[in-house]
Amino acid sequence: MDEREFEQELRAALRPVAAPPGLAERIVREAEARQAARRKPVAQQIWLRWGALAAMFAAGTFGGLHWNERRQVEQLEARRVAEQFTLAMSIATRKMSKLQRNLVVEVTLRPGKGGQ
């Protein structure tokens, strides 16, 4: 096989392939979700949800809830905290990622270690 033929075969082997079906929709959806997460007025959300909970406590309804409902309320609150937590992690990793891209030398983060 001469050089030209080899290059032709290489082109054929590496030819572009179609992206999997549904990938574009997934990407656009994820982009919109991230944008919404960045813009979410977290403070407002907290106020609204805490307000609802506070109202329930004030009305003495919490104590009157069945175990199931109480668990649901707790889960609602846990989910709220989880959302904030993941948003915080998202922001932190974005900043670290940007920093990493701007660095000339390789950096390895070592959790839990370091000089005293």
Partner: protein, 168 residues
């Protein structure tokens, strides 16, 4: 240059290009899909700095190449399925010599990160050495010499495989 299409249009028009670069670089469909998504999400975050569709295409190609190189290096140090495991179907009905195609893909997938990407940019994306040099911030002469050396290596690998098959 033209005006900039919407983000979803950019995804539709260029997803296959990004996916193809990632797939041939990483030889794993799932990882290539993830990388494709991350490249476009990064584009989305940087959309304000993109001036035209041409600019977007170049940006995407460069991002796909850079991230592929990073991913290759990262997976080298991680336990788990080897990079050589090709998750995509090895045989395509349209290929006249499927075995040769598979061997060539495996040979490319066994190259170190930078030569692998240079090969993909040249023979998949049909970029001239000076275009590759501009995209990857390398001197043209370096791109040319690396490509030349890589072709020799790939041909050597192919010949070795042919020898092994002959004696098998």
């Amino acid at each position: 240059m033209g005006s900039l299409p919407s983000f979803s249009e950019l995804v539709e028009r260029h997803q296959s290009m990004v996916f193809s670069i990632a797939l041939r670089a990483l030889a794993n469909r799932e990882v290539a899909e993830d990388l494709t998504q991350e490249v476009f999400l990064s584009l989305h975050e940087n959309l304000a700095s993109i001036e035209s569709e041409d600019h977007a295409r170049n940006w995407l190609r460069r991002a796909a190449a850079n991230r592929s190189v990073d991913e290759i290096r990262r997976r080298k140090y991680r336990r788990g399925p080897s990079l050589d495991q090709v998750a995509e179907p090895a045989v395509d009905a349209e290929e006249s010599d499927p075995m040769l195609m598979a061997q060539l893909r495996e040979s490319v997938a066994s190259l170190p990160p930078l030569p692998r990407l240079l090969t993909i940019m040249r023979f998949q994306q049909e970029m001239e050495p000076r275009e590759i040099a501009a995209q990857l911030d390398m001197p043209v002469a370096t791109v040319k010499s690396r490509l030349h050396r890589t072709m020799k290596v790939l041909r050597g690998k192919l010949e070795k495989r042919a020898e092994v098959r002959k004696h098998a």
